[in-house]
Symmetry: C2
Subunit: 300 residues, 2 copies
DNA sequence: CTACCACATAAAACATTCTTATCTTGCATA
DNA sequence: TATGCAAGATAAGAATGTTTTATGTGGTAG
């Protein structure tokens, strides 16, 4: 109903008071000039009184505008104090956290998340071990790790889990490769190419095998050109023009390789956060799980 | 980018603290329960900390929640003070205002507007005279009225004006009349009916005549059954079954008569607010004109 | 157990706010 | 005065945000 006065509008208003120009505020705040006009109009409407006299070349706050400015500044001060206090409360959360993660989540998902968490709770010490999904789940179960991140959901009621991200395994090629500018390639076409696999025990390779197996394709019959020990080495080999690799979509951004799609097929899988089902958890663990759960929502 | 913390969310939060239940707050505030959940989530996201513990049957504020509550209350207090001070400033606008208005604006548009203005500026005394459009304009020009409302735009550069509302002259009949349930009637059909006109000098009658004249219809050839002296009497006569009247669409709501439409024809006109073009105007007049200009925007 | 109550989640409807494009006005310059 | 420029206003459509409706989930009491 009433649109409500929000911190953003008040900030705009303070900037107008400071800079004395709508356009300049717009530039400074990275929004368009009409957006500034709009916000001022909204404030004036909500308060039922003119705040800024813009009939002359130079704009001036009205008396009411001056009053609102004081309010906006008081408000900002309170807001700052609030921020500080909440910061403090977050610092109260401290201790050590031992995490296990499988390769893809550990290398491509966790680093950013842990950095944000660490910034939010500076007093926390985190150690993250990287292994494979099965090991992660076992170590969470036996309480070696307090939390784990893996590519397969755990079984049994002793462990709780939730999905943290979706992923897709996609074929990649060097930019000069014939497939580089094609949206889709057919499974038959792949068979004739120089393929680069991961070792058979890797989670990615196993997912690839089982996902293709579901649609009747047996990749064991495809003779790989190379078998490499990590996602990074596959990407490096592909970049060097050694052939076609299959890697997690999460791993390729910024690597310069080109991705394709297999016709009629999405090789998707999910990653999970796993922890022991218990009534009592440490405040730290609770905060961490909570953070992971809401991470996606609050970071784009 | 950030959605910003607005007064509405904080109000919801205070209500939650007071009532201890999302659902109840939803009922009380006339919104749905998911809307309440949503707002709390937004707050928690923005502040990056859990505010309400809702894992048990009864919900409790966390420490951070308690802190936010104090903030919300301080905020509300400041907001209240601001409201009071602005109120005060509005009261500083005082004096007398003499307004002229033609019939339709004077009877159907102004009453509500003046009531709202009066509430906002209690120290102002307003007198509104009702006459016809031409008189209104003349009296504004000679400074008898400070502002005028009329159905025709003024000529000459000494007067400023702007549109305040659009209107349509439409045929009306009693609910039992053969035209009552028809969307449209043709001009020919009208000619044969018992017609009720206003006197020839009325603004409505003149608009009717000129608007129909433009499409080649000369209503002087239509013999009216009755010629009445006011919009209200036309409506009364129509209600009594005396025939077909032509009145402003603004005048008929709640009167019980049925409106029709003349095929292929919209008899539209606008109403204007008129005042003298001067550099210096009284604060009262400025506030009044400003209010009228923004009235439409801020009241639905 | 089972029913119920309270909060969470999802999808779609709905509303607000922003951007782009264009207009108007005042002022400075020629 | 014309002419151009800079600042703000306005309009229409795009992009976001918020709410609703419908449904899921879990805890608690009977």
């Amino acid at each position: 109903m009433t649109t409500g006065m929000n911190t953003e509008y008040l900030k705009t208003f303070r900037e107008i008071a400071r800079l004395g120009s709508f356009s300049e505020v717009a530039r400074e705040m990275g929004i368009s000039q009409p957006a500034v006009s709009f916000q001022v109009q909204k404030l004036e409407q909500e308060l039922g009184i003119r705040l800024i006299d813009r009939s002359q070349k130079t704009i001036t706050l009205t008396k009411a505008g001056e009053r609102l400015l004081r309010f906006a500044e008081a408000m900002e001060g309170e807001r700052e104090k609030l921020r500080g206090d909440l910061e403090q409360m977050r610092e109260d959360i401290s201790g050590d956290l031992l995490i296990g993660a499988s390769t893809i989540p550990g290398e491509y998902l966790l680093p950013k998340m842990l950095a944000v968490f660490k910034q939010r709770h500076p007093a926390v010490k985190i150690q993250a071990d990287i292994s494979d999904s099965v090991t992660v789940i076992n170590r969470v179960r036996d309480n070696t790790y307090e939390v784990g991140f893996c590519g397969i959901p755990p079984e049994g009621k002793d462990l709780a889990f939730f999905k943290i991200a979706g992923d897709e395994i996609i074929p990649i090629v060097a930019p000069g490769h014939p497939f580089a500018n094609r949206d889709e390639v057919s499974p038959e076409e792949l068979e004739g190419e120089a393929l680069i696999f991961r070792e058979a025990t890797s989670g990615t390779q196993r997912s690839l095998e089982s996902l293709l197996g579901r649609v009747g394709i047996d990749i064991k019959k495809w003779a790989p050109q190379l078998v490499l020990g990590s996602t990074r080495s596959v990407i490096a080999a592909v970049s060097a023009g050694a052939g076609i690799g299959f890697v997690s979509s999460l791993a390729i951004k910024g690597s310069g390789v080109k991705s394709a799609r297999i016709k009629g097929l999405r090789l998707t899988r999910d990653f999970y956060c796993v922890y022991r089902q218990e009534r009592v958890v440490s405040r730290l663990l609770e905060a961490f799980i909570d953070f992971i759960k809401t991470y996606e929502k609050s970071h784009l």
